[in-house]
């Protein structure tokens, strides 16, 4: 029980100290999980991270589940995950509650109109960063463009594209189109 509580607290700390998730989380994980507690080695963290990126869901949550499971089995995985989502739940509920009350003030509206422009640029930068790791040959470029164009013009669930692309990835690899 003490271990479960420690896992919860350690990952809540990681959650509070990380802005943005993803790679931003690595230094905090290193400090809390590797240096302070010795629960995993740096190499293990990188392995969890790599698998976390290529399994469904939020990478931070996947990594938390891995570390928790390695320390205390299934309950450990669950407590570590609850720890990492706890700060978000509290902070976002407070901010969302406040913002809802101020949303009609003209200055707040102007501020968010400016912020939306910034969000466009942040998404563009995220795409540019992911592009490097994802588009390594012509077949991948084709898949990406097909998904982009279809999802701009059609009203299909993203699930359709995900399932289709996983199948296409296996097919392309089998056909030997990959890497050309």
């Amino acid at each position: 029980m003490k271990k479960l509580l420690q896992l919860f607290v350690a990952f809540a700390r990681v959650g509070v100290m990380t802005f943005g998730g993803g790679y931003a989380m690595i230094p905090m994980l290193e400090r809390e999980v590797v240096e302070k507690r010795g629960w995993s080695s740096s190499e293990e963290i990188m392995d969890y991270y790599a698998v976390g990126q290529c399994t469904p869901g939020v990478i931070a949550v996947n990594t938390a589940t891995f570390v928790g499971y390695s320390q205390a089995g299934v309950p450990g995985g669950i407590f570590a995950t609850l720890g990492i989502i706890f700060p978000s739940l509290v902070i976002i509920c407070v901010i969302a509650g406040i913002l809802t009350n101020f949303a009609d003030i003209p200055a707040v509206k102007s501020a968010f109109a400016g912020v939306r422009v910034c969000v466009c640029v942040l998404i563009f930068n995220a795409v540019a960063k992911l592009w490097k790791g994802a588009i390594k040959d012509k077949a991948a470029l084709l898949l990406c463009l097909v998904v982009f164009v279809l999802s701009v013009f059609l009203d299909l669930s993203p699930v359709v594209y995900v399932v289709f692309c996983a199948a296409a990835g296996i097919l392309f690899t089998q056909l030997g189109v990959r890497g050309k």
């Binding site: 959650g15 990380t18 802005f19 943005g20 998730g21 993803g22 990126q53 290529c54 399994t55 469904p56 869901g57 939020v58 949550v61 589940t65 499971y69 390695s70 669950i78 995950t81 990492i84 989502i85 978000s88 739940l89 976002i92 509920c93 969302a96 913002l99 102007s110 501020a111 968010f112 109109a113 400016g114 912020v115 939306r116 910034c118 466009c120 640029v121 942040l122 998404i123 563009f124 795409v127 992911l130 592009w131 994802a134 991948a140 898949l143 990406c144 463009l145 998904v147 982009f148 999802s151 701009v152 669930s157 993203p158 995900v162 399932v163 692309c165 990835g169 296996i170 089998q174 990959r178």
Partner: protein, 192 residues
Amino acid sequence: MMLYLRLFFEFFKTGLFAVGGGMATLPFLYDISDKTGWFSHAQLADMIAVSESTPGPIGVNMATYVGFTTGGVPGALVATLGLVTPSVIVILIIARVLQSFRQNKYVDAAFYGLRPCSVGLIAAAGILVVRIALFRFDLFSRTGRLLDVFNFKAIVLAAALIVLTRWVKTTKGLHPILFILASAAVGIAFRF
């Protein structure tokens, strides 16, 4: 009660199919917005900004925000638990067979296809934000003047932000929260 079940189900689906981290949940959130009308595209853009500027993983923050907007504090809890449940189940299964999973050639081949898919889906979701942030199709449809399509102030700000976040050495490594705050200030100062 139905609302909470639906919320859980929608976020469970998001958690199960969004591959590649927080931003990958974005296309799913737009899909939820279109299907249910729980929140608008403009609200979603604001939620992205708040999620980037507050502690915690972006994907979790966005789920909490959408859940709160839709069903208050219980909604926030249900949406977030829905998002993480598939992760926990999948990881607990994979943790037992970690090495063989990473080296499996079919898993590797599937992800070769999934990575470009994520890029395409996130880019398409970005287009939806661009539509409301940089263009004014509603104004254009009222006035019919072609110049009214463009939101010039916003386009200038976007160009400046791209230069600052990508090319200027002293600013490009700065945290996104600083650019978000600066954009809010510009929005107020120039009455966006």
